[in-house]
């Protein structure tokens, strides 16, 4: 009996290891921003794959955290056009810049996904360098993000105002982060008030590069 249990446990751990998704790459770019790339192969996760094929919008919300404190985030919206058989994709980074691409089919999406890079946190104050390790989390949310705009604006404005208040206490102009915080919260809140996450993952990643 013990042997059966041991075999079952071994098989379970092997299966679990096989299912483990490798972490994305997080690096510091030339402008001292945090950039995420080499995105993990979560598109093949059952719930994600089903939603991607649903013809409705799938939103990927990325968040970087240190000790539970959110440093930044980014959002990727994907919708499959059933008739044109293309994926419409919009990426919005923490710098507020966006990219819109149209990809012909699942293979093209997977290729783009593994190669895309975007900013998840803007430049930090000189006195506080980026940590060597941080947590990168992703949530996959169904449905469009363009509803509930009132709630979104309320959140963005509330946090924006609180960021502005914090901003006034900062003496170094280089440390004024109010704007970027508002952008980050805009990115995050716009999606996180939507539907329940279909899938979520967290990785502890080592930050590559830096000063």
């Amino acid at each position: 009996m013990k042997g059966v249990v041991l075999i079952a446990l071994t098989l379970a751990s092997v299966c679990s290891a096989a299912r483990a998704v490798p972490p994305p790459k997080v690096a510091i770019d030339a402008e001292q921003r945090l950039v995420v790339g080499r995105l993990a192969a979560i598109l093949d996760e059952e719930a994600v794959a089903r939603q991607l094929e649903s013809g409705l919008t799938t939103t990927f919300v990325f968040r970087v955290e240190v000790a539970g404190r959110v440093l930044g985030g980014a959002r990727v919206d994907v919708r499959y056009d059933l008739w044109d058989e293309v994926f419409e994709v919009v990426v919005v980074g923490a710098d507020g810049r966006g990219e819109r691409v149209t990809l012909a089919g699942r293979t093209a999406l997977a290729t783009w996904w593994s190669g895309v890079e975007f900013v998840v946190a803007e430049q930090r104050p000189r006195s506080t360098p980026w940590p060597r390790e941080l947590v990168l989390a992703v949530e996959v949310v169904p449905f469009s993000v363009s509803e509930q705009d009132d709630a979104q604006r309320w959140f963005v404005r509330s946090f924006g105002e609180s960021a502005a208040r914090t901003d006034r206490q900062v003496t170094d102009p280089a440390e004024r982060r109010g704007d970027s915080l508002e952008k980050v919260l805009g990115v995050l809140m716009a999606t996180s008030i939507q539907g329940s996450a279909l899938y979520s993952a967290r990785w502890v990643v080592t930050v590559a590069g830096g000063r």
């Binding site: 089903r50 939603q51 094929e53 649903s54 013809g55 409705l56 919008t57 980014a74 959002r75 919206d77 919708r79 059933l82 008739w83 419409e88 919009v90 919005v92 980074g93 923490a94 507020g96 966006g98 819109r100 989390a137 949530e139 169904p142 449905f143 469009s144 993000v145 363009s146 509803e147 509930q148 705009d149 709630a151 979104q152 604006r153 959140f155 963005v156 404005r157 924006g160 508002e182 952008k183 980050v184 805009g186 990115v187 809140m189 716009a190 996180s192 008030i193 939507q194 539907g195 329940s196 996450a197 979520s200």
Partner: protein
């Protein structure tokens, strides 16, 4: 079923986009969020012409119920937001645990088939709710003793049966309304997605051991205790039944479009005998016996509901505003154990007409948590006749009644398993509530609590069979002259 219409012409779409752009620009300007914000760049909202709607995963009741509750119909264009609202409406059905929407190509370009995949609850269902509460003031529950610690529990087991294309019949033992209840719910009433629900409950209050142990409880032998609202009984009294009770409930809902609806709720309850006890009376000897009691309540409300889940709400808003009419009548026999003779108070009547508004908002916090804010306000007029007060006098007055409460809550999923046949959720739930209420003039009821607070923490477990809840509360009451 409507004949499918061709999708909107390109010109119409372009006009829509121009309007959308204008609206967005104005909104961005007005809020100061500006287009440079990350929220500004997103996919245009999807708009889909539904040619067909298919329901999957429904085995225990009629698929027509899902379609009726969705308020979706073929031959129309829906935005993704409208589809999401429809998904939330379906998920609020007691028959449904979860729902998933997906599209398929239709028969022609730009026509779609909507596939609604439903995860059902079981035919058999159960529920158990246990609350242990500490009180800042000693309260009476039943009999002649007071306590600072109360326990209330509720157990329920029942079964649902499909009844026709849009109906569900259920029967249950236990529950808040009595030891036995039967009910029938009909969807797609009024030919437009309305619904109606009728239930009949009875309890026999079989033994003394079944007495309730909380100011609002159903004892284990069907004896019911209720803390009656200030508008019907301004003395803050418990009314405990000692005999059988029959209760009839009727709810009708009529959709007004989107998440909005009109709702009419009615209730009639009759009981043969019981005990009325002033909840905060320090003199344990004073109480009143009652007989031939009945109460009627009618509530007509406008409701806007975008909450995603009725048990574990994590996002969305619930707004209700309406009129509330209540009547309570009973023959009362006032009794003082300290030696005063039994006095007949006679027939007592209370009527209340009030405006009532409630609101709650829910937001997710992090991956597993959610934060809620809520409030309720009531103001109305009450006519009270021949009701014994704290000093054994009979109250006879017309008063203005008001009450308000505010609640903040935080919930955190400790476990969420939603795969295949396995469905389990365990949530830690916390809430803090402040409440206040009163009548004017005060009628000399100085012991009536005018404000207070309640803090509650507990665990709730849900699976495909039912819900198990265990909570601890602390209730602080403050009476002011």
């Amino acid at each position: 079923m409507r004949k499918p219409m061709p999708p909107e012409p390109m010109r119409g779409r372009r006009r829509f986009r121009v309007h959308a752009l204008l609206v967005f620009t104005l909104v961005a300007w007005a809020t100061g969020a500006a287009a440079q914000s990350g929220a500004a760049l997103r996919l245009e909202e999807g708009r889909f012409f539904l040619e067909k709607i298919t329901i999957e995963g429904v085995t225990t009741f009629a698929p027509g119920i899902v379609i009726a509750e969705s308020l979706l119909e073929t031959g129309r264009v829906y935005t993704e937001g409208e589809l999401r609202d429809a998904a939330h409406r379906i998920k609020r059905l007691p028959l449904v645990l979860d729902v998933e929407f997906s599209l398929k190509k239709g028969s022609e370009r730009d026509l779609y088939e909507l596939v609604i995949r439903v995860r059902e609850t079981r035919r058999w269902f159960w529920g158990f709710d246990l609350n242990l509460a500490g009180w800042s003031e000693p309260v009476s529950v039943s009999g002649v003793e007071t306590t600072n610690f109360t326990e209330s529990s509720l157990a329920l087991v029942g079964r649902r049966f499909a009844a026709g294309r849009y109906g569900v019949v259920y029967a249950a033992l236990g529950g808040a309304d009595g030891t036995m209840q039967v009910g029938y719910t009909r969807h797609d009433l009024f030919a437009g997605g309305g619904f109606g629900s009728l239930s009949l409950a009875g309890s026999d209050c079989a033994s003394d051991n079944g007495q309730p142990s909380s100011p609002s409880d159903v004892g284990d032998a069907g004896c019911q205790t209720e803390l009656v609202g200030l508008g019907l009984d301004p003395t803050y009294s418990n009314w405990s039944t000692t005999a059988g009770t029959v209760r009839l409930r009727l709810t009708l809902g009529y959709p007004l479009g989107g998440n909005r609806s009109l709702r009419l709720k009615g209730s009639y309850r009759a009981t043969e005998s019981g005990l009325r006890r002033l909840a905060l009376d320090t003199d344990p000897g004073r109480l009143a016996l009652f007989s031939d009691r009945y109460d009627v309540a009618l509530n007509l409300s406008w409701v806007s509901n975008s909450v995603d889940d009725p048990v574990f709400p994590t996002r969305g808003t619930l707004l209700e505003a309406g009129l509330d009419v209540q009547t309570l009548e009973a023959d009362l026999f006032q009794y003082d154990l300290s030696g005063s003779p039994l006095a007949v108070a006679g027939a007592s009547r209370s009527h209340q007409l009030a405006a009532l508004a409630t609101a709650s908002w829910h937001w997710p916090v992090g991956e597993q948590g959610s934060f809620s804010l809520g409030g309720e306000a009531l103001i109305g007029r009450s006519r009270i006749r021949n009701l014994p007060g704290y000093d054994l006098e009979l109250l006879d007055a017309d008063v203005t009644v008001w009450s308000a409460s505010a609640t903040a809550g935080y919930g955190l999923f400790l476990k969420q398993l939603r795969t295949g046949e396995r469905w389990r959720e365990l949530r830690w739930e916390n809430s803090a509530q402040l409440f206040a209420g009163g009548i004017a003039p005060s009628l000399g009821q100085d012991q009536v609590p005018h404000y207070g607070g309640r803090v509650t923490t507990g665990l709730t477990y849900r699976n495909t069979w039912g819900i198990l809840r265990f909570t601890l509360s602390w209730v602080g009451l403050e009476a002011t002259p």
